[in-house]
């Protein structure tokens, strides 16, 4: 593993917060800034975070990102961060707060889109339709490699995909019970695959 080129079978794998149902990041926060929602999200409460970074250490996927500096004002990032200039600031998503220095952040599974979608359904007084809510990543992927939806909805696409034989959890053996499923890559190779686990 030390030298990637000796293992040419590397795959591309988008890795964001797995929204573990048994999340190791949640138990270690002294101020309960990261908690589980009843929808299964691992939520990060930025304005409660005091920045001990314990959660990031204890995340087996290492998906948490810390705000090491005050990126919107620190002179070191003037050339890197568009948010530092009034015009380019407009690229920032108005629905998402700009995180301050010293707090942890991570993928929220576009909680702002989820909330908006739920509200729209509520206003129209109809149940939330599968596919009505897209995360930014699932909307952007041109090959529909990412599916987002309600796993409890028996007819949802995400449910069907997750029940598929190819579906697996990354690092399942750690026992964190993620809410994100991956699908094994089907390779045409001469090698016999190792016995799949469960």
């Amino acid at each position: 593993m030390e030298v990637p080129s000796e293992y040419p079978e590397v795959g591309f794998m988008p890795l964001m917060c797995q929204h573990c149902n048994h999340a190791p990041c949640e138990t270690v926060c002294p101020v309960a800034a990261t908690t589980h929602s009843d929808e299964g999200f691992n939520q990060m409460t930025y304005n409660r975070c005091i920045g001990t970074r314990y959660c990031a250490n204890n995340c087996p996927y290492k998906v948490r990102r810390f705000n090491w500096f005050n990126y919107v004002a620190d002179s070191k990032f003037t050339n890197l961060n568009p948010a530092q200039d009034d015009l380019s600031r407009m690229v920032l998503n108005p629905d998402v707060v700009v995180r301050s220095r010293g707090v942890m952040e991570k993928c929220s599974l576009c909680v702002q889109r989820v909330q908006a979608g739920k509200l729209a359904a509520k206003k129209a007084s109809e149940p939330l339709r599968d596919g009505a809510i897209q995360t930014a990543c699932s909307a952007a992927c041109p090959t529909n490699a990412i599916t987002f939806g309600d796993i409890n909805d028996k007819s949802s696409k995400v449910r069907t995909d997750a029940m598929n034989d190819r579906a697996y959890h990354l690092l399942e053996e750690v026992g964190v019970k993620p809410n994100v499923w991956y699908q094994t890559k089907v390779r045409n190779s001469m090698q016999t695959a190792a016995e799949p686990t469960a």
Binding site: M1, V28, C29, K62, F66, V103, V174
Partner: protein
């Protein structure tokens, strides 16, 4: 009166009387500091100020000025934290556990060892504070009633247990230390000639009268506090170790940690007491009180706890292989042979191999070798924490997350700065506080003093 066997080495050398003990211990407080003290103090102040500057820079700019990154989110900060807490342990062990076991040799060293504990715990407590991204919100770790709604601390988090463990430990140690100081402050008060110092020491001595009733209460309170402090010797570092042991990271997730950390803490604490006292006895001319026998006793503790630590290292290594858990096995292989092999090698050499030299009587009774070896242990124990924290984090489950940690000048500055602050406090202490428990020492003069032992032996 209690008599002691002639073959036990005396604990107080020379022809001392009660009065002479008072004179010897009060001399640094009443006299003027020599130029070495001023030199040491200036160096310590400069280093401390540099450290304070680095801390302020961190708070002003952000944790990004340290060498941390997404892979290694804790490094020198928590290494230093654990190192300093560990150092603190010897003081409590000497003053509480040895008191309960009636070890008379503790009387010459307990005062300074406890002072070291207090200062070391202060340095330790600094790190969980400054390592926070938003230190100005640090009070949120206390379960304070608040108006934020139903917000409360998370009692599942080992970091919260740390808050309780460290604050209890600090307060009990402080009270214990202070109670012991009261009669000695009173002695200085009674001898003081300058009105300012007379006033200061009368306030500090809480109106101690020294009558029999007061002494009875003093001894009772000391026993009660010793009883309270003894479990703390074991609980504090066990809880600190749970920061790691309760996590899921290979190399951290280990049930051996609590006992292993406690042994390591006593080990490093005694080494630091050794380093400090070997200097102090010379500078403050306390050679008749802190004798070679005292040094030897401490070296024995060092070699025993060092061996426990060594066994812990080896069992960790063995279990990582025996458990058959690939991640665990890799974590330990990587520690020993990966990019941080040099840290692991330093840890093994300084903590396991070098202290074994103390099995030789000549080495454990020599001041020079004791001093050198104690420095090795101090260094080795710092590396132990570094190895545990950084090597476990830098390569965990997914190779795509692997990284390295490179300290910046701020990391180094803060670490050295805390050493500077520690020495500033310790040097001030050695000028204004009685560095030996002088009144307690008097209680063993007739049983363990050299002159008295000779006298008894002859009649």
């Amino acid at each position: 009166m209690q008599k002691e066997s002639a073959i036990r080495e005396p604990l107080i050398l020379g022809d001392k009387t009660y009065h002479q003990i008072t004179e010897d211990v009060c001399a640094p407080v009443e006299g003027k500091a020599n130029k070495y003290w001023y030199m040491a103090f200036s160096v310590a102040v400069i280093v401390a100020l540099w450290g304070v500057g680095c801390i302020l820079y961190t708070i002003g700019r952000g944790i990004g000025v340290w060498g941390l990154n997404t892979t290694v989110d804790w490094a020198w900060d928590i290494t230093n934290f654990v190192w300093w807490v560990g150092i603190g342990h010897a003081g409590t062990l000497i003053s509480a556990v040895l008191l309960l076991f009636r070890q008379k040799w503790r009387m010459a060293i307990n005062r300074s060892a406890e002072a070291m504990t207090i200062f070391a715990v202060m340095m330790a407590a600094l790190f969980p504070g400054i390592h926070m991204g938003r230190i100005w919100m640090a009070y949120w770790v206390f379960p304070l009633p608040n108006q934020f709604g139903s917000l409360w601390v998370n009692f599942n988090s080992p970091l919260l247990w740390d808050v309780f463990a460290i604050s209890t430990y600090f307060s009990v140690s402080l009270v214990f230390w202070y109670i012991g100081l009261i009669p000695d402050f009173a002695t200085i008060r009674d001898r003081a000639v300058k009105p300012v110092s007379k006033m200061a020491y009368s306030v500090l001595s809480f109106g101690w009268t020294g009558n029999a009733k007061a002494w009875i209460r003093f001894e009772e309170v000391s026993l009660v506090l010793a009883g309270l402090a003894t479990p703390l010797v074991f609980s504090v570092h066990s809880i600190v170790s749970m920061d790691f042991a309760t996590s899921v990271i290979p190399g951290w997730h280990t049930t051996i940690f609590p006992p292993y950390f406690v042994a390591g803490a006593i080990f490093s604490g005694f080494a630091m007491v050794q380093t400090l006292l070997l200097i102090a006895r010379k500078v403050l001319s306390l050679e008749s009180y802190i004798t070679v026998k005292h040094i030897e006793y401490m070296n024995i503790v060092i070699v025993i706890t060092g061996s426990i630590v060594g066994v812990a290292y080896l069992s960790e290594l063995f279990i990582s292989w025996y458990s058959g858990v690939e991640y665990e096995g890799y974590a330990f292989m990587n520690r020993a042979t990966g990019p941080y092999w040099w840290a692991y090698a330093s840890m093994m050499t300084c903590n396991v191999i070098i202290p074994q030299l103390f099995w030789f009587k000549g080495i454990r009774r020599s001041l020079i070798t004791s001093f050198i070896l104690s420095i090795f242990v101090n260094v080795g124990m710092w590396f132990e924490r570094f190895v545990i924290i950084v090597t476990s984090l830098h390569r965990d489950f997914l190779p795509s997350n692997w990284g390295m940690f490179h300290p910046t000048f701020v990391d180094v500055g803060i670490f050295l700065g805390t050493i500077g602050i520690f020495f500033v406090l310790f040097l001030l202490y050695s000028r204004f506080f009685p560095v030996l428990a002088l009144n307690e020492l008097k209680s063993i003069l007739k049983s363990s003093g050299d002159n008295y032992k000779k006298l008894h032996h002859n009649d």
